[in-house]
Amino acid sequence: MIRAIVLEEALDPGKELAVLTANAAGAGGLVNFVGLAREEGGRVAELVLEHHPVLTQRSLDEIAGAAVERFAVTAVSVVHRVGSIQPDEPIVFAGAAARHRREAFLAADYLMDMLKTRAVFWKREEGSDGTRWIEPRNEDLSDAARWHGSKKKEITR
């Protein structure tokens, strides 16, 4: 299964985990990550995720597809919120199922690095001190750069 969804309503991580589990197709395990909106000590009232109607979906499709190419996974799921998100609400679900755990951990890690730097979203914080657009941090860029190079499946067991 490859699931890549741009979601306008609330994200239910429990439901997404159930969907991934139900579609894990012979996997020995799965790993999932859930990203939450930070409240930054009350400074941020809401996080607003903007997107492009065509390019955003395509970027999620490409990221999920690349993870399947790259790792020995049986299912990959990427579900990403758009619109207004309150502090502590889930923004993103990224998960992968694999025959062996290492590939699932790697794939989930890869998905998040790509989502942080390649997925077509623009993120702004609205708070007491106005609007602030958020760009990838240097750390996000160097994390993503770890995956450059070979697209071959690197670990096979």
């Binding site: 990203g35 995720l49 903007e50 492009h52 065509v54 390019l55 395509r58 970027s59 990403h80 923004i91 993103v92 998040m112 989502l115 942080k116 730097t117 390649r118 997925a119 077509v120 979203f121 623009w122 993120k123 702004r124 609007t131 657009w133 958020i134 760009e135 990838p136 996000d140």
Partner: protein
Amino acid sequence: MAVTILFLGPLRDLAGQQTMEVEAPLNWSGLLEAVRPEVAGQLGEQRVNVACAGKVLADKTELQAEDGDEVALLPPVSGG
């Protein structure tokens, strides 16, 4: 018919508008002239991408937008 320029994320704030219609065809130099100087300055930066008709251009300076195309100006993206 025309070309629609779509300003996204922080570029919308900088442009002061979400969309702008200009006459087709539109190439790179035409785009730089059509938008505000602040936006044109951003377009010159490597980290800002341009998509035409739903495809991100490998080389934005080779933009060739025709009647009905949407030219989307894409500042640095960040999800997660």
